[in-house]
């Protein structure tokens, strides 16, 4: 009898002690579901997709990063105005054209090798040399040539500036300038691939807060905490599992049933309903410097006629789109004052749905009977763009413009944008660096970048954009911005619709979710209550 | 007592085209150890009759009247449940086209063993040994090896021997042989018929030999029943039937049967075709083909089976 009792006690003790242990692991593990995952562990590799930004954000350190602020609704957001050191202990302008970084002495890569200025230089050399997106992104901050990067000593690194560019420092806090373990990568580089891109694509070679524990491309990524991380406070979550679940309905069900912790970048209807339902919390932050718009190609008559563009802009069913296409998960960008009153971007255009006015303008332009054209949308974003296109089509029919909707496969979208042969297109563009002129440089400038899908060219606007880029005087700068925004409203090559929210839905016990311009999740400040 | 008695059996098929009255008022009896021949053109209902006796008729077949008694047990009535046990054990059947009548993908020895283990209450091993014995009994050379052969590896005659082994495995009291020699060459035919005859005699087994070959029936049977369009038109002992056929159809049949000394050219086919068994039929189904047909034939119902002399039965108003 005694023995039995003892056995019972023992069993009970074992049970009691294992259950919290399990709960403990569950409490330190974060389950995230997303639509599709990364295709590379290194943002420098060819074709690294947007999901890789979030991965490299957590697995690599950069010299600099941004601080956080709390938005009015309580959500955390990165703070554009607060640039902080990360791998660098400190940094300062040591001359007008020179920034000097002092590296942390205790920082180590995942394999234990200490981080030195040599690694930093090699990494910087790499990103400006490999071509493609990383090189391009760094160019935006005037970081262009290996000669700019100087190793002063093991823990001091210097960047020479080619010109005075206010984007240089912010550009060092984007996901691209990661610091790699140069010895490790060089060991795995080949003659054909001197920068070891093949290796880093599938192997993590950094020293960030998280290590890649396992990666099944197209299925699952598991991150484990790097307990030796020194570049910031030790993260609370020991493990992060990111699972790909393509069906939006399934992602919602998983979250609602409590099987996962976070569902990221979900459809607006789900965000709206989940937020209303109150079972989970939804953090929605308007994406900075971004805009959904209806673009009209000036190369495709009759959209070379400004009256036609204005007519279309008056025919857009703005409010219907807000309600039925994005369920209010965006800030309206229509019905604003007639002239720009602030230098903010994006800001509401003065246009509103006004069919009578649209008809009149169309008649003035000589198209009283209307015409036929196509509305183009990106298949990859069809769940959002298709309802918008359908509503626009219906509305345009009222002023006599007959349209067909063209769904262009995601792969072809960029090529179509390059060709600039889409009469009407519904799309979005957002810039990482939150400056109006940055947006206009890509979207409206006569350099005719890929995102200027309207092929809009106006020398007057170009002058204002170029000036604003290097303008140091606040007053003048704001005038320049208001100036090109005004031109945009007058010429109306694209009709702004709304500024979209980046929504993340999560269980109520999740803390520390932070909005980032790169739209990846930063797991470092996150935890569970 | 007769081993098998068929009394006033009527059977019809319900098909899409209408009801086919395949058997009508058929009465027959088989005594112990007797060999009864059932002859007639194809389509006259011989096989339908045998299937009805065995209880393996098509699902569309429906017995509308009559009884089949095996050792006094009514197989269509009270004895229906016993039929499963009787089939293959007390009464069994062999078919034409032996090559397709055997399971093509099962070794013949196994097929025999299946029957034995079902009815003889033996173990699987015993059944196997007995199967080989049965193959030897039907005079198949090298039975051990043959037991492991598939039907497609054997000749038609061999297959028919297997079929006989299958049918006789449990020493039944009644064997129905439905055209057992169709599709076999002449020498094999004789050998098969000899085999059946020998085995039947050995065990005093009753046999029903169904054939369209009157000569064969003449040679092998004690008595013969002639069928035409679902009717039995004449029954008599073999000698009597050939000596004094009373039904015009029988006479015609005999006339078409090859005999020694008669050339093929002299044989005359039975004129006319079998009547369509759907819809209304005259009382005498032969009347449309009968040269002796007179108006009086249609007057009043035809009494079945007028007993003439010496157990010679005929169904005709104006017998020869």
């Amino acid at each position: 009898m005694k023995r039995l009792l003892r056995a019972l006690c023992l069993t009970a003790a074992v049970t009691v002690s294992t259950v919290p242990a399990l709960a403990q692991t569950r409490n330190e593990t974060l389950l995230v579901v997303i639509e599709s995952g990364t295709n590379s562990l290194d943002i420098h590799t060819v074709g690294a997709n947007p999901a890789s930004y979030g991965v490299t954000w957590n697995t690599y350190d950069r010299l600099l990063t941004y601080g956080t602020k709390t938005l009015p609704d309580g959500t955390l957001s990165y703070d554009y105005n607060n640039i902080k050191p990360e791998l660098a202990e400190s940094w300062k302008f040591t001359a007008d054209d020179e920034i000097t970084f002092v590296l942390r002495k205790d920082a180590k890569f995942h394999d234990g090798t200490p981080v030195t200025a040599k690694d930093v230089k090699w990494s910087f050399d790499r990103m400006v040399s490999v071509g493609g997106f990383p090189t391009f992104q760094m160019k935006a901050g005037s970081i262009e040539k290996p000669e700019q990067f100087i190793v002063v000593d093991d823990h001091t690194f210097r960047v020479k500036l080619l010109r005075k560019d206010k984007l240089t420092v912010p550009d060092l806090g984007v996901p691209v300038p990661t610091i790699l373990n140069s010895e490790l990568v060089k060991k795995n580089a080949t003659e054909k691939d001197p920068w070891g891109l093949e290796y880093t694509k599938t192997n993590s070679a950094g020293g960030g807060a998280y290590k890649v524990e396992s990666w099944k491309p197209g299925q699952e990524l598991v991150l484990a905490r790097n307990d030796d991380w020194k570049s910031g406070p030790l993260p609370k979550l020991k493990k992060v599992i990111i699972r790909e679940v393509p069906s939006a309905g399934n992602r919602r069900a998983l979250l609602e049933r409590g099987d996962v912790d976070v569902s990221f970048d979900l459809p607006p209807k789900d965000s709206q309903e989940l937020a209303k339902g109150g079972k989970v919390k939804v953090a929605g932050v308007p994406i900075e410097n971004s805009l959904w718009y209806v673009g009209m190609s000036l190369k495709q008559p009759p959209f070379d006629n400004v009256k036609v563009r204005q007519a279309v802009s008056y025919a857009v069913p703005y409010q219907k789109i807000m309600d039925a296409a994005i369920y209010g998960r965006g800030i309206p960008m229509f019905g604003g004052p007639a002239k720009p009153t602030s230098a903010a971007w994006p800001q509401p255009s003065p246009y509103n749905t006004d069919i009578a006015k649209a008809k009149a303008l169309l008649a003035e332009a000589g198209f009283a009977k209307g015409f036929e054209t196509t509305i183009n949308i990106n298949q990859g974003a069809a769940s959002l763009a298709e309802p918008m296109a359908t509503l626009l089509q219906e509305s345009l029919a009222q002023i006599g413009i007959t349209t067909t909707i063209n769904k262009i496969p995601g792969a072809n979208w960029r090529a179509a944008m390059l060709k600039k042969d889409m009469p009407i297109a519904i799309d979005t563009f957002s810039g990482w660096l939150n400056y109006p002129e940055y947006y206009f440089f890509w979207g409206y400038h006569g350099q005719d970048a890929v995102f200027n899908i309207m092929s809009y060219k106006n020398p007057e606007m170009d002058k204002l954009i170029d000036a604003a880029r290097f303008e140091t005087d606040r007053q003048k700068y704001e005038e320049q911005i208001k100036g090109f925004v005004k031109i945009a409203w007058d010429d109306m090559p694209r009709a702004p619709l709304f500024q979209y929210y980046l929504d993340a839905a999560m269980q109520k016990n999740i803390t520390g979710y932070t909005y980032w311009f790169h739209r990846g999740i930063d797991f470092r400040p996150m935890g569970k209550e | 007592m007769n081993l098998l008695e068929i009394e006033h059996l009527s059977l019809e098929f319900r098909t899409r085209g209408g009801t086919v009255r395949a058997l009508e008022d058929v009465s027959l009896a088989v005594g112990k150890g007797e060999t009864l021949g059932v002859v007639g053109e194809s389509g006259s209902g011989k096989s339908v009759l045998s299937f009805a006796v065995m209880g393996i008729s098509d699902a569309a077949a429906k017995v509308t009247n009559g009884a089949v008694r095996f050792e006094g047990l009514d197989l269509l009535g009270d004895g229906r449940s016993a039929l499963d046990e009787l089939r293959g054990a007390e009464m069994s059947m062999i078919f034409q086209n032996p090559r397709v009548a055997l399971n093509p993908i099962r070794m013949v020895g196994k097929q025999i063993a299946d029957v034995l283990s079902r009815h003889a209450g033996v173990t699987r091993d015993q059944a196997k040994t007995r199967a080989v014995e049965m193959l030897a009994k039907v005079r198949i050379p090298d039975p051990e090896r043959r037991a492991r052969a598939y039907p497609f590896e054997m000749s038609g005659g061999m297959c028919q021997r297997v079929m006989i082994a299958l049918a006789l495995a449990c020493s039944p009291k009644l064997l129905i042989a439905d055209e057992p020699t169709t599709g076999l060459d002449v020498t094999t035919q004789a050998a098969i018929m000899d085999l059946i005859g020998d085995l039947a005699r050995e065990s005093r087994m009753s046999t029903i030999l169904i054939t369209h070959d009157l000569a064969l029936a003449a040679e092998r049977c004690d008595r013969i029943a002639v069928m035409h369009a679902g009717h039995v038109v004449e029954v008599a002992t073999t000698a009597e039937l050939f000596a004094h056929p009373r039904h015009p159809y029988t006479a015609k049949l005999i006339a078409t049967t090859p005999r020694p000394g008669v050339g093929l050219a002299e044989l005359e086919p039975v004129p006319g075709a079998l009547p369509d068994l759907r819809g209304d039929l005259p009382d005498c189904r032969y009347s449309t083909r009968c040269e002796r047909h007179r108006a009086e034939c249609a007057a009043g119902p035809l009494a079945r089976m007028i007993d003439l002399t010496n157990a010679h039965l005929v169904a005709c108003r104006r017998p020869l």
């Binding site: 389950l31 599709s36 295709n39 590379s40 060819v46 074709g47 997709n49 071509g131 493609g132 997106f133 090189t135 391009f136 992104q137 935006a140 694509k201 599938t202 099944k216 491309p217 197209g218 699972r243 679940v245 069906s247 309905g249 399934n250 069900a253 609602e256 049933r257 099987d259 996962v260 262009i408 496969p409 995601g410 792969a411 979208w413 960029r414 090529a415 390059l418 970048a449 | 065995m54 393996i56 499963d84 009787l86 089939r87 069994s92 078919f95 086209n97 397709v100 009548a101 055997l102 399971n103 093509p104 993908i105 099962r106 299946d114 029957v115 598939y150 497609f152 590896e153 299958l166 049918a167």
Partner: protein
Amino acid sequence: MIAHLILRRLLGAIPSLVAVVVVTFMLTRALPGDPAAYFAGPAATPQAIEEIRHKLGLDKSLPLQFVDYLGDLARGEFGQSLTTGQPVAQDILARLPASVELTLAGLILALIVALPLGVAAATRPGSWIDHLARVVSTAGVSLPVFFTGLLLVYVFYYLLGWAPAPMGRLDLFTSAPRTITGFFLIDSLLTGEFATFRAAAAQLTLPALTLALFSVAPLARMTRASMLGVLSSDFVRTARANGLSRGTVLVTYALRNALLPVVTTLGMVFSFLLGANVLVEKVFSWPGIGSYAIEALVASDYAPVQGFILTMAVLYVTLNLLIDVLYGLIDPRVRIEA
């Protein structure tokens, strides 16, 4: 004998495989879109796109690209997937077992339902069970698989909570068994991880059911037709005349013979299911090669599409071989005469 048959079949399949390679190459090059532009990422200049085009070898002429492709194939290289960033061969090898396991599970489930249904219908043609079998199986094949899948998820996972979350082959807390065959069900049994087996089986149930619903109809119909034919055949009559029990007649005699055409149908259904998999995998986040192919196709990512189609073609040939062998196992005539 069988070896001889297999060899002959393999040789016979070579021209088809060659044709598949050529057609696949042309088809993928006809896909719209510019992978270079797609993978150059945001804000790429035309020059950056050209750089990538060169890197991918897409600036060469088509015939040259084809020669490159053939060379790679000869070396056993399927190229790299741009979407997952992995060698295609590795991706396919990792994902194929998932697809095959799912398809086989669906097929087996379908057989378990279809065979008895077909037999029941054949033994009582025209009866209510015959009509019921016909209506039920036809209804199953009339549903688009993705719709069935979604409905099953909604009812059994979301509403009732009986099924686990539709997120792949295992839930998040079970780790995959050591890879032996790649089939989780088999591997987990071989390694004795019964909890894993249960978890894998639970994940497999709904998608397999979706596929099964779709494939019951052709199998049940073929079983019925074939059984009807066999049941009216001479040898079944013989078996009945010999008083064999109903079960023996139906199963040992009739069904085994009736299986021959069913096996042929089975092959067809299997290759059909591999196609339907594409949709089911998408619904259930199943990490198979079907979902892999869709993503690649939409991204104009040539290498995975080519690798996928080639794999499927090889699978198809193998499948036909297997069916021949199976046929031989069932039917001694094929075996001995081959």
